[in-house]
């Protein structure tokens, strides 16, 4: 398949791994920011092709995982309301809130629907004027533009029954938070190619310069990841700290201006709590006041919900790269995809799920 098989070619992958072995003369710690990259690394066992001195640390880039439990609880409360059609990406349905998950609400009679695009939720709102359609807007800068477009479309159609439960988060503040931790071992970053396709690299330039860390904007296929690691290692070995783009077939330095315009029109930067990590200043997106009628948190009374988090779950440390999933005492024992204590065990991009699925025996 075009743009897929080329980037999985076995000979090229082996050559790239050899080049990394040749380039790395000292131990280095590199964080791949995005959970999609983590899954690729484990699925293709790329980490096992690298020199032992090179450590990959899995980052916080899983939007499902970092969605705070109180936001999930609000989603569960909304989904349980009889007038609401609650629309979500499939990933979110198994993520545990304080009391159950969206599947449980669905089986108790809630109208929970899996959609693949927020536009489908807008269409549902148009077709069901007598119901309230709420879309669970989870994701990084990759999904924010389409959710912004959905709000703009709902406004254009004059819909009075569509709203967004916005839980958007931003990557650059998360990278700063990782670097600010006193226990941080990360010396270089693989940034998320899809996020930077939207945002470009302008926000990454000051991070690289101020923090003196190389950042390589990297794709998701095996060859992408190995090339990104090689570029990062070469910077580290030569003492450089620049923002480089490996994923050139998708990322332009300026990003996608149309998508950025839509985001800026609908959303403003807000401080957000990250599940397991805590509040990161200016790390999320919320609806601007002029779109308040599309904001589910203002449209519905969601007060009086108290969140309860499992005290045993160490997802916060996993998300910051401080421990690996199998170092958590609950891993694959009291925490499994069937009975998750935290979101990284159920999300398609969660590091715990990747370790459970691909590495349980080790």
């Amino acid at each position: 398949m075009k743009y897929l098989s080329e980037y999985r070619d076995a000979d090229q992958v082996r050559r790239a791994a050899e080049a990394i072995r040749a380039a790395a003369t000292r131990p280095w710690c590199i964080m791949e920011v995005c959970g999609g990259q983590t899954h690729s690394i484990l699925r293709f066992a790329l980490d096992r092709m690298l020199p032992e001195s090179l450590t990959l640390i899995h980052g916080p880039g899983c939007p499902v995982c970092v969605t705070p439990v109180e936001v999930l609880d609000r989603a569960l409360a909304l989904a349980a309301r009889p007038e609401v059609i609650f629309c979500s990406f499939g990933d979110m349905l198994r993520v545990p809130g304080s009391r159950g998950d969206l599947f449980a609400v669905k089986s108790a009679g809630g109208d929970v629907r899996v959609v693949y695009s927020p536009m489908d939720a807008v269409e549902l709102a148009r077709r069901h004027p007598d119901r309230e359609v709420v879309f669970f807007g989870v994701g990084f800068e990759t999904t924010a533009p389409t959710n912004a477009m959905a709000v703009l479309q709902a406004a254009r159609l004059g819909l009075k029954n569509f709203s967004l439960l916005a839980a958007h988060v931003l990557v650059p503040p998360a990278i700063r938070a990782v670097l600010a931790s006193p226990q941080c071992r990360v010396q270089g970053f693989l940034a998320a190619g899809h996020v930077c396709t939207i945002t470009g690299i302008s926000e990454y330039l000051p991070i690289a310069a101020e923090q003196r860390v190389p950042i390589v904007v990297t794709g998701f296929e095996p060859l992408d990841l190995l090339q990104g690691i090689l570029m990062c290692v070469r910077q580290l070995e030569s003492g450089r700290h620049e923002v480089e783009i490996q994923y050139t077939r998708s990322v332009r330095p300026e990003g996608n201006p149309a998508a950025l315009r839509a985001m800026a029109e609908v959303f403003q930067t807000v401080s957000r709590p990250w599940r397991g990590i805590g509040v990161i200043p200016d790390s999320g997106l919320g609806l601007r006041p002029q779109f308040a009628q599309f904001d589910a948190e203002r449209r519905f009374d969601l007060s009086g919900i108290t969140a309860v988090e499992s005290s045993e779950c160490r997802a916060g440390e996993v998300l910051q790269g401080l421990i690996r999933p199998h170092q958590c005492p609950a891993f694959a024992d009291r925490c499994t995809p069937q009975h998750p204590l935290g979101a990284p065990m159920v999300s398609a991009e969660g590091a715990c799920a990747a370790y459970y699925r691909y590495r349980r025996s080790s």
Binding site: M1, A45, L46, F89, D91, A348, R357
Partner: protein, 371 residues
């Protein structure tokens, strides 16, 4: 096979199913006689040799269903052990690219019998119909079942109809049960799987699951994919005939819900053996691969309705594989791995670059991802 889609005469004055169609009175008789009996009897006529063994006792007509006054179909199975299975079908939507709930209900049960090495003799079909269900759709489903039964060489000999209140069902549910005769010398069971056995699959994976997903509400995407929905009993017969000894076919599984991953894990766990599969040998067509990449799904977990996995003694594997390749239902058959004594209960998938990973069971259905 030339088989008319049209019912010769309209059998009902109603355009939708009424509660009374399940009420045991005149309307129900009209439904059974006019639709089910007519279609399934014609299907039986399409099978010149009749069912392999099954025959209606003391019934001059070709299928016992025609004896509407009887509560049971009576068949003479002949000698040897019987295989007996049942399955319910609740697929949504009812019609999808490459098939519908009707052919699925017939092939699903035929294939379950075939996985025991059995030749299907007879099926039952029970319908739970929601009040208001359109008759033209019911007719399409029933005609599809009749066609599927003719293709698989099996007769639908008994059935049941219930109509539930509007809102109490999702249009139409079908349950089929089937009996089949296990030929002499056939011994298919996970407990017979042994280290050194070869693992073969009958074709490329994921077509049914992705075809269904492409038309499911909220997820619609354009694709030319068709379900692989097909009977596997003919293929299994060819495999048993090709083996050095029929007993060399140690285990068979149809790769339905949960796909290859579920079937491989079940066998590994039941037989307490390890299994090593080669990812690069597992065929997946370009359209399935592309849709899976887009939706964040893994084709190894996707459902199939016309694919099987066989665990075969090494000495018979080449002949069985060759027989599969020359059968239409197994044209893309491949040897994908081996059974080992190490890591009992674990399926290891060797990737394109050497190092392996676990091919684990999922906790539920695969869900499309966020980004």
């Amino acid at each position: 096979m030339d088989f008319s889609m049209q019912c010769p005469v309209p059998f009902s004055q109603y355009s939708t199913v009424q509660l009374a169609h399940g009420g045991g009175g005149r309307l129900m008789r009209e439904l059974i006689e006019g639709l089910f009996r007519a279609a399934f009897a014609r299907s039986a006529d399409q099978q010149p040799e009749g069912p392999p063994i099954g025959r209606a006792a003391a019934d001059p007509l070709r299928t016992p269903l025609l004896e509407a006054a009887h509560d049971s179909a009576v068949i003479e199975p002949g000698a040897g052990p019987l295989a007996f299975t049942t399955d319910s079908f609740v697929v949504s939507p009812l019609f999808f690219p490459g098939g519908d709930i009707g052919c699925l209900a017939v092939f699903g049960t035929v294939n379950d019998l075939a996985m025991a090495g059995a030749k299907p003799l007879a099926l039952s079909a029970a319908f739970i119909i929601e009040e208001g269900f359109p008759f033209d759709q019911l007719q399409r489903v029933v005609e599809s079942m009749a066609r599927a039964a003719a293709t698989a060489g099996v007769r639908i000999v008994t059935g049941d109809t219930k109509v539930v209140d509007r809102g109490k069902g999702d249009g139409l549910f079908i349950t089929t049960s089937g009996v089949g005769r296990v030929p002499p010398g056939v011994a298919i069971h996970p407990s017979r799987v042994a280290a050194g056995d070869q693992v073969i699959i009958s074709g490329d994976l994921g077509r049914h699951g992705l075809a269904i997903m492409s038309v499911r509400q909220g997820l619609e995407f354009e694709t030319e994919l068709q379900s692989d929905c097909a009977p596997l009993n003919g293929l299994v017969e060819a495999m048993l005939a090709a083996a050095v000894d029929p007993q060399d076919i140690h285990c068979l599984r149809d790769l339905t819900r949960g796909g290859l991953a579920a079937a491989a894990n079940e066998i590994a766990q039941d037989a307490a053996v390890g299994m090593v599969l080669h990812e690069t040998e597992i065929p997946v067509c370009a359209a399935v691969r592309a849709a899976c990449e887009l939706l964040g799904l893994d084709p190894l977990y996707a459902a199939n309705e016309g694919r099987l996995m066989a665990v075969v003694a090494p000495r018979s594997a080449p002949a069985v594989l060759a027989a599969m390749k020359s059968h239409p239902a197994g044209a893309d058959a491949r040897l994908i791995g081996t059974v080992s004594a190490e890591h009992p209960g674990v399926v290891e998938l060797l990737g394109p670059y050497g190092p392996g990973r676990i091919l684990d069971l999922l906790s539920g259905e695969q869900m499309p991802r966020i980004c």
